[in-house]
């Protein structure tokens, strides 16, 4: 059940709620212990091990977590909003445990002007539920030519800058953008795909593409942009973040750059460590993603990159697409899949498969992405916004269109049995999602 809290109740500021009997997980402090959280209004008043084992404040209402896990709300630093569909984004987000999301600037209209930043903020507020922060465009109209007003966009609330699903492909433009952005200490997020080499490729270049008779998109299109941008970041002193890395060699490049002291970060998305190009199988357009699903060796390397810290965060790449744009021959179908509701369970596969601990995995979708973009989120801390989730890391379910709250159902994980489910989502101290409610 999703509760839309708008308009806010007048008494909310005084409301005290005690979440008791929870396994508290806070990656930022390494906390993993039974305890509780007390909220008042929109804030966390207290959170800690052993809290409420004896006495619970009399005026607080009580929510019994029944021993389930309680962790900071998920922070998803890469989602797309199709058209003006803010309300639907919220429903999908809270069902997936996402309390803070950052949307790409390829909204309608494009976020390349102060007024649009304010429009997005207002629309998101009106829709309630998830907290949405905007990326600003690097170039006007995402055209890759003229710089957008990054300084003023940042003042209005853009948290970082990207041209969304297209790379800034002109080297001079990217260099100037990095230089200009670093004037204000702003970060650029690059979609690593060299467009002229990607050409008309629709899936990873290789045997599978050859068998299916689909035009291949070589991994070199990703590598060229990453290599180039690492050089440009070094040259300009600009702050670079590479979005959704998908190949083994991408990680080699980024790892080497980090080793020589360059401040560069990257993220990946669940499909790139949970699926490979064979998921395209019988022309499944739900598995048509950008970047494309890669080889099994690449997938394994992404898992390694998550384990050794080369990859700083996981983002869902949530890209809702209507049936009309997916029920097409593979080459004509749209790129992208919805992802917010599978972000937690697919990330937890890393835990269930023994690759990393629970706290470590949660850090990749809470604390780390929040710190990357300087968002006030991702921690269980007294005084912080009361944004957290209660989840069962072991509950099994099957991803299907009936289970998803998202209006668009285009998930590359369609039909996949997964483990781990969000039970409750709390944003600003309000229970906005309750699976059993």
């Amino acid at each position: 059940m999703i509760y839309n809290p708008t308009p806010p109740e007048k008494t909310h500021a005084e409301n005290r709620v005690a979440y008791v009997n929870a396994r508290l997980l806070d990656p930022a402090t390494g906390l993993d212990a039974m305890g509780g959280v007390l909220t008042q209004g929109e804030r966390i008043v207290e959170a800690g091990a052993g809290l409420f084992t004896k006495d619970i404040p009399e005026d607080a209402s009580i929510i019994d977590c029944r021993g389930q896990c309680l962790c900071p709300g998920l922070v998803d630093i890469r989602i797309q909003i199709s058209g003006k569909d803010f309300a639907n984004v919220g429903a999908s987000a809270v069902a997936g445990g996402v309390t803070t999301a950052v949307c790409l600037p390829n909204t309608t209209p494009v976020i390349d002007d102060r007024s649009v930043v304010e429009f997005v903020a207002r629309a998101a507020r009106k829709a309630g539920l998830v907290k949405i922060y905007p990326y600003g465009a690097i170039t006007k109209g995402l055209a890759g030519e003229e710089l957008a007003e990054m300084g003023m966009l940042a003042e209005s609330g853009a948290v970082a800058f990207t041209d969304g699903t297209s790379a800034v492909s002109n080297a001079r433009t990217m260099a100037q953008a990095l230089l200009y952005a670093s004037t204000f200490g702003l970060m650029l997020v690059q979609h690593p795909e060299e467009p002229t080499l990607a050409h008309e490729g629709v899936m990873n270049s290789g045997e599978t593409a050859t068998r299916l008779g689909l035009s291949g998109l070589p991994k070199e299109a990703e590598l060229i942009i990453i290599e180039r941008d690492l050089r440009l970041a070094q040259m300009t002193g600009g702050r670079l973040h590479i979005a959704h890395v998908s190949t083994a060699e991408s990680l080699d490049l980024i790892r080497a750059a980090k080793d020589r002291g360059l401040t560069v970060t990257c993220d990946t998305a669940p499909p790139y460590f949970a699926l490979n190009e064979t998921a395209v199988g019988d022309y499944r357009t739900f598995a048509k993603l950008s970047p494309p699903l890669r080889s099994e060796a690449d997938r394994e390397a992404i898992v390694e990159g998550l384990k050794d810290g080369t990859i700083d965060a996981i983002a869902s790449d949530h890209t809702p697409k209507s049936e009309d744009t997916k029920r097409l021959p593979f080459a004509d179908a749209a790129y992208g899949g919805v992802g917010m509701e599978t972000l937690l369970p697919i990330t937890l596969e890393l835990v269930h498969n023994g690759h990393m601990g629970l706290l470590e995995a949660l850090g990749l979708i809470t604390q780390h992405p929040a710190e990357l973009l300087g968002l006030p989120a991702g921690r269980l801390k007294a005084g912080a916004a009361a944004d957290f989730i209660v989840f069962d890391p072991n509950r099994g379910w099957k991803v299907s269109d009936t289970e998803l709250n998202s209006k668009a159902k285009n998930t590359p994980f369609d039909g996949r049995p997964v483990q781990g489910r969000v039970l409750k989502t709390v944003i600003d101290g309000r229970l906005v999602f309750d699976l059993e409610g």
């Binding site: 003229e146 710089l147 957008a148 007003e149 990054m150 300084g151 100037q176 230089l179 200009y180 002193g237």
Partner: protein
């Protein structure tokens, strides 16, 4: 009209191509002399005869109004014959090379060539090919020495000194010859120089020229005695140096709010021509108490008189006789 006698042997150079390399003594000499001319220009009308019989050619390959007029006036006040050549409308259009133009003019025996050119180093190249003295009136993004001298004179007259002052140069440093000449002059005269600009408008390793670099106006202007604004070349907007004039003005345009960070008696300067509402607010530019912008123009004439005088006194009394077999100019190659 009286003037103090002047020992030309004190100034060691044949040309004035840049500030870089000048000693504090050279600069002080020029400033002292220029200061006398400023006073003379204010008190008396009429011409001097210092350069009587000398020919000054203003050779401008780039359009200019104030610098060319300033040099013309300076030459005429000293009694020289001044000729203006605007080369953009002349032989360069017909395909003549820079060196051929220089050779042609050299054959007419001028005494001083005042040259502005759009390419860095072009004035130096030209100076190597002529017999007369050459004054650089601005070459590309390299130097504009008389502008730095007139700025220095303005500062010295207003503040009584240059040594120890904190000076901020703000704006399009990357393309600015004014900035480079000023950096050299202010450093050698003991001022501390800060540069304030977006990173896209700062040249690489600018701090190596002896400056402190800032990307934020308020931080950079803190406790400054002098605020020098540079013209923003809006034609550069298409080349991604900055997104829009609106954003540039918001962060780097000088207005009273940003100026609060500087000292209360900070002097505001601008080499002109100004873009009001782009790099400087109109009310700041017109603030009689703080803006020295019009005074800079006045100093320009005095400084250029001093430069013309000093260099022409270094010239030989007799013009060298042109000898086709011993040309200092062109490598005659196998035909020599």
């Amino acid at each position: 009209m009286s003037k103090t006698p002047f020992d030309s042997s004190v100034f060691p150079l044949r040309h004035l191509l840049g500030i870089e390399g000048l000693s504090p003594l050279d600069i002080t000499l020029l400033l002292d002399r220029a200061n006398e001319y400023v006073e003379l220009n204010r008190s008396v009308g009429g011409k001097l005869d210092t350069l009587s019989g000398r020919t000054v050619i203003n050779l401008f390959f780039e359009s200019s109004t104030r610098t060319r007029t300033s040099f013309e006036l300076a030459g005429k006040r000293l009694g020289a014959d001044v000729i203006n050549m605007s080369v953009s409308t002349s032989s360069i259009k017909k395909g003549e090379t820079l060196i051929d133009t220089a050779m042609t003019l050299n054959a007419m025996h001028p005494d001083v060539l005042v040259v502005r050119h759009g390419s860095s180093g072009a004035v130096k190249l030209l100076s190597e090919k002529v017999n007369c003295a050459v004054i650089n009136a601005g070459d590309g993004s390299h130097e504009h020495p008389t502008q730095a001298l007139l700025d220095a004179l303005t500062i010295r007259r207003r503040k009584g000194r240059i040594d120890g002052l904190q000076v901020a140069i703000c704006g399009d440093i990357l393309h600015s010859r004014v900035a480079r000449s000023n950096i050299h002059l202010l450093n050698v005269m003991g001022a501390r120089v800060r540069l304030i600009a977006p990173k896209t408008l700062l040249p690489a390793q600018a701090e190596r020229l002896g400056t402190e670099v800032f990307y934020d106006m308020k931080a950079g202007l803190k406790d400054c005695d002098i605020v020098m604004m540079l013209r923003l070349q809006t034609e550069r907007m298409q080349s991604n140096f900055f997104p829009t004039v609106r954003e540039y003005y918001h962060f780097f345009g000088l207005d009273y709010t940003k100026l609060e960070a500087a000292k209360p008696d900070a002097l505001i300067m601008h080499p002109g021509p100004m873009n009001r509402g782009v790099e400087i607010a109109s009310d700041v530019a017109d603030d009689i108490g703080r803006s020295a912008i019009r005074e800079q123009v006045e100093m320009g004439v005095g400084v250029r008189m001093a430069c013309l005088e000093v260099l022409s006194l270094n010239l030989a009394a007799e013009r060298p006789v042109a000898d086709p077999n011993d040309s200092p100019v062109i490598d005659q190659g196998e035909h020599a």
